[in-house]
């Protein structure tokens, strides 16, 4: 662990707090939370429902701002970036994989993967999209629409879409939550293989301990505190 600490973290949370105003009063989801994520490592955040895993993820990805403290991406405090700069950061360096896939229903598999590449203005969008769909084993189903694909296949399209932009960080929020065990297992295999091949940083939210065990580090979010879990 100590050798890792000497490397410069890619994502850094410094004394981060998040609280909400509810009808019952102010609720602190967590406070003084500190976290370093190194380039290329895979990290699982586990915890029970409502512990604030998704909120932590959205803070780390710059989708939300902390009530106190700072989140730094590559040394740059995210709260100092405006909306446009954060959108540019997401576009160039971050990808997401969601529990419910979130594919556009009117686009076929190829177009779904091509979309972020086209938004980036890349001229090789078509070639890249085909390449990544082949990587996830859907080379023969390029022109299928989401409604014509199974849940597992839809998630594979989403994975291809996430990797196609060659992100430095991949955030995955319960990626197998909507899939049966076998399909989930296949998806996991694919996700870790691609992660290994591309060297991207993977931040995973799950309450599946088996899935978490495959990550290099595991953090348990409980009662507003983040604790390293050692196997």
């Amino acid at each position: 662990m100590s050798h890792l600490n000497r490397e410069k973290p890619l994502i850094e949370a410094q004394d981060v707090a998040k609280s909400f105003n509810t009808q019952a009063g102010r609720v602190d989801l967590f406070r003084d939370l500190t976290l370093h994520i190194l380039p290329g490592e895979s990290l699982a955040i586990i915890g029970r429902s409502g512990a604030g895993k998704s909120t932590l993820l959205s803070l780390l990805a710059g989708l939300d701002t902390p009530s106190a403290g700072h989140v730094l991406f590559d040394g740059q405090p995210l709260d100092q970036l405006d909306d446009a700069a954060r959108a540019a950061l997401r576009l160039e360096q971050i990808s997401f994989i969601f529990q419910s896939f979130h594919l556009l229903p009117e686009l076929d598999a190829l177009d779904n993967v091509r979309l972020p590449l086209e938004i980036q203005g890349r001229t090789d969008a078509d070639r890249k999209a085909r390449h990544w769909l082949e990587q996830v084993g859907l080379g023969a189903r390029l022109d299928h629409y989401p409604a014509q694909l199974s849940g597992g296949e839809q998630q594979r399209v989403a994975i291809a879409r996430a990797f196609a932009t060659e992100p430095r960080v991949l955030f995955a929020d319960e990626p197998t939550g909507n899939l049966d065990d076998d399909t989930g297992q296949q998806i996991i295999e694919q996700l870790f293989r691609l992660n290994r091949d591309t060297g991207a940083t993977l931040v995973l939210i799950t309450h599946d301990t088996e899935l978490a065990a495959r990550c290099q580090r595991r953090l348990h979010l409980q009662n507003g505190r983040l604790e390293e879990v050692h196997s």
Binding site: D64, A87, F96, H102, E106, L115, D173
Partner: protein, 820 residues
């Protein structure tokens, strides 16, 4: 195609699967079609009747008079460079064999017209030669005339030489809509149809260079007598002042309802649409689309939707316009010119305003969706600016609609009526629903659930009921009144109600006419008729003694028909004072409403100017007059001694059974100068107008009903998730799918029945008011409405409910509940 337009196109097509997007497209389509119809038809009417008024007038300037115009009338006025001609127009009965027809005759001198042209078949120039007559197609058809046939015109048979297809200078008012015939002025005298005192309109048409006309107009104004008027191009009556203008306003008001419903449908469809776009927007933003780009995607989508609906709408508008024009064509004085091409853009322009004004606020809000919505399902922050913008857009839209309808006040009135009526009936319906459901709650298994459902959906029920009740009310009022208003009005008269008026009986013809009727055992009574103007009250000029409103009273603005009598007319009961005794010179009798409105009482002395002679009388009694009795009726009746020597013509009315029609023919053969007016024909013409107007507006209202049904669908969509969730919950708790369906059915059936009953009630109310105030006949109950409306409303609700809310399977229920 750029990425953004490609995304927009894909979205447009794929969202066609959603009901809200389909409703939005349909609403916009109908709004554009209706606007196109009204803009194009309105423009054609205006261009036909107003803008091309030079051709319409047949001249640049017209001097019109209710008395013959002396040959030297224009002497001393600046006439350099000005051409002139004279026209006499009057109603008359013309005939062929046993058939008689009431027409408007124009007796012409060459040159005619001075502006515009006569369109005839066979084509040609000039005016009818002496002995010839040109008649309009309606006359040809009704009297079954062929070119070359003889038309009886007083003593003078005329030969039909041409069919008259179009002509300017049709005169004003109702006479312009009667079928016309043109004759040569030289035939008038021989025909004997025109006598002193005839109800004719005499005109001098004038045309020339603009400055000369202006100078002449200026010089003519101060010389105008009471009975003369000037019609000039610049101050021709506005379109709204005549029957066609009123018809157009009526159609526009009918359309207002459809436009409002479309706008409301679009607002609600957009609301639902944008709610459904949160995840998608968050995803697109997450994939790197900038908010500006996202706004552009949705704007492109709206623009594409607009392009689609504008094309379909203009095409539909074209078909509608063609059908309504066909409907009205044979009632129109002449073929209408085509509309200005810009008018074809009115519908699309309004559609664009609707979509962009109403669509922009929710779209702007989509661009502010947090991407974290994808992770946590966060709803976007409630945005006051968006609400404010939507409010402003609605106001702007209302202003656009009112401006477009060009009748801001009636439209505003109708708007208020709809809003207040809608609020009232919405509230009543909701209260009625609760009242009906409470007893059911005790008896039916589903009753308690129904009561809960009604409470939960009450705000949507209110809106749905308001829309359905107001729509069904308007539709049934138009439907019922279009068919039977005139019929009912006529049916109230006893069978022997006079159906002919005979006017222009000269003093020397009076005895002959009396004898004519006596020989045929017809019960008629001739009344003398003298024209005079009310000028003085109790010895002083009357106007300064009255309020401004009274000064504008109908009886003070024109010459009145006065009469004299020994006995009280039997159909005029007295409401105050006594009828006079012989020798009671200077006594007069006044009609009740006139006395009340001018504040006149028994004992007041009224002064009249009768052909330059001043005559005075004292009010001795007040009479009740039923103006619609089709008998000669007068505001003022004198004791005979005061008026006996004034120049009078005589008037009467009588009743002929259909088999006695020959009598009217004999009468005109013996006395060609008499003017015989066939009341049935006049009423038939009027009924024809109302019927077609009713048909056209029923067509528009049927489209409004279509809009209403769409709106209903969209309001049901708004709470669809809540309904599905509730239904899923009930099913997992043990309610069967059938019971869940029955609950829906019960709800829709109940609200439909309540709305139908309320609509029947309000339609009866409006019809009763029409009967009471407009027709002054006792209201009657329309049982067919009480049956049809509840059934129709229930059918509408059940059908839409069934279309929108298919039953859920149990596995779907479970998934729905798990997803929260």
């Amino acid at each position: 195609m750029s990425l953004l337009t490609r995304l927009a196109t894909r979205q447009l097509w794929s969202q066609l699967r959603t009901t809200e997007w389909r409703a939005l497209l349909l609403a916009s389509w109908i709004a554009i079609a209706l606007t196109t119809l009204l803009a194009v038809l309105g423009d054609r009417l205006e261009r036909g009747l107003l803008r091309e008024s030079a051709a319409l007038l047949g001249a640049d300037l017209v001097l019109s008079s209710s008395r013959p115009i002396a040959p030297e009338r224009l002497d001393g006025l600046p006439l350099d460079g000005i051409r002139q001609t004279r026209v006499i127009q009057f109603p008359s009965m013309v005939g062929r064999g046993d058939d008689l027809m009431l027409v408007s005759v124009r007796a012409l001198q060459a040159p005619y017209p001075l502006r515009g042209e006569l369109v005839t078949e066979p084509p040609g120039t000039g005016i009818p030669a002496p002995g010839d007559v040109w008649v309009e197609p309606r006359v040809m058809t009704q009297l079954q005339l062929q070119p070359g046939d003889q038309l009886e015109f007083g003593y003078q048979p005329l030969s039909v030489s041409r069919e008259l297809l179009g002509s300017p200078d049709r005169g004003t008012g109702f006479r312009s809509f009667s079928p016309h015939i043109l004759v040569n002025a030289a035939d008038l005298e021989a025909s004997g149809v025109l006598a002193p005192g005839s109800r004719a309109n005499y005109r001098i048409l004038l045309a020339g260079p603009a400055e000369a006309i202006t100078a002449l107009n200026r010089a003519l104004q101060p010389t105008l007598a009471d009975y003369e008027r000037i019609h000039a191009l610049s101050k021709d009556q506005p379109l709204t002042g005549n029957a066609l203008g009123n018809a157009l306003s009526y159609l526009k008001l009918s359309a207002l309802i459809a436009l409002l419903l479309s706008a409301l449908t679009i607002v609600l469809a957009l609301r639902r649409f944008s709610l459904g776009q949160h995840t998608r927007s968050a995803l697109l933003l997450n994939l790197g689309l900038r908010p500006g780009q996202l706004i552009r995607v949705y704007l492109y989508q709206l623009l594409l939707a607009w392009l689609l609906t504008a094309s379909a709408g203009v095409l539909t508008g074209y078909v509608l316009e063609w059908s309504v024009y066909r409907w009205l064509a044979d009632l129109l004085p002449q073929a209408l010119p085509t509309a200005h091409w810009l008018r074809w853009l009115s519908g699309p322009a309004l559609g664009l305003a609707l979509l962009v004004l109403l669509g922009l606020p929710p779209i702007l809000q989509l661009a502010r969706i947090p991407v974290a919505h994808l992770l946590r399902g966060d709803a976007p922050p409630r945005d006051r600016t968006a609400l404010l913008m939507q409010g402003l857009s609605l106001l702007l839209l209302a202003a656009t609609l009112l401006a477009f309808l060009q009748a801001p006040l009636p439209a505003l009135g109708l708007l208020l009526f709809l809003l207040l009526g809608g609020a009232l009936f919405g509230w009543l319906a909701q209260a009625g629903l609760q009242a009906c459901a409470r007893p059911l709650a005790r008896r039916l298994l589903l009753g308690r659930l129904l009561l809960m459902r009604l409470r939960q959906q009450r705000q949507w029920h209110r809106l749905q009921a308001a829309v359905v009740v107001m729509l069904l009310t308007l539709l049934s009022v138009v439907w019922v009144s279009r068919a039977d208003l005139i019929e009912q009005w006529q049916a109230q008269f006893p069978d022997d109600t006079p159906n002919y008026f005979l006017i222009n009986i000269q003093p020397w013809q009076k005895d002959g006419v009396d004898r004519f009727f006596a020989e045929r055992e017809l019960d008629t009574e001739l009344y003398p008729m003298i024209r005079g103007r009310l000028t003085a009250l109790n010895g002083d000029p009357i106007k300064p003694q009255l309020s401004a409103e009274q000064q504008d009273h109908n009886t003070l603005r024109r010459e009145l028909n006065l009469s004299w009598r020994v006995e009280r007319p039997t159909h005029n009961p007295l409401v105050a004072g006594q009828w006079w005794q012989p020798g009671d010179a200077g006594a007069i009798s006044i009609e009740r409403e006139m006395a009340e409105e001018l504040g006149l009482a028994l004992g007041d002395r009224l002064g009249f100017d009768i052909g330059g002679v001043r005559v005075e009388g004292e009010i001795r009694n007040i009479r009740e007059v039923v103006w619609t009795s089709f008998r000669p009726n007068f505001y003022i009746i004198f004791n005979p001694e005061a008026l006996q020597n004034a120049p009078a013509t005589w008037i009467t009315s009588f009743h002929l059974e259909p088999e006695q029609r020959g009598i009217s023919r004999e009468l005109l053969q013996q006395f060609p100068s008499l003017t015989l007016i066939d009341i049935d024909q006049v009423l038939d013409q009027l009924a024809g107008w109302l019927q077609r107007l009713g048909d056209s507006s029923a067509l528009i209202l049927a489209l409004s009903l279509g809009c209403g049904v769409m709106l209903l669908g969209v309001t049901l969509l708004q709470a669809l998730e809540q309904r599905r969730f509730e239904s899923a919950l009930l099913q997992t708790l043990g309610v069967t799918a059938d019971q869940a369906r029955q609950l829906d059915l019960l709800e829709f059936l109940l609200i439909g029945l309540v709305c139908g009953l309320l609509a029947s009630l309000s339609a009866e109310g409006v019809l009763a008011m029409l009967h009471q105030w407009l027709l002054q006949i006792p209201p009657r109950l329309h049982t067919e409405l009480w049956l049809a409306l509840p059934l129709l409303a229930a059918l509408i609700f059940v059908l839409i409910g069934w279309l929108i809310r298919r039953p859920l399977r149990l596995d779907q229920c479970y998934r729905l509940l798990r997803a929260g």
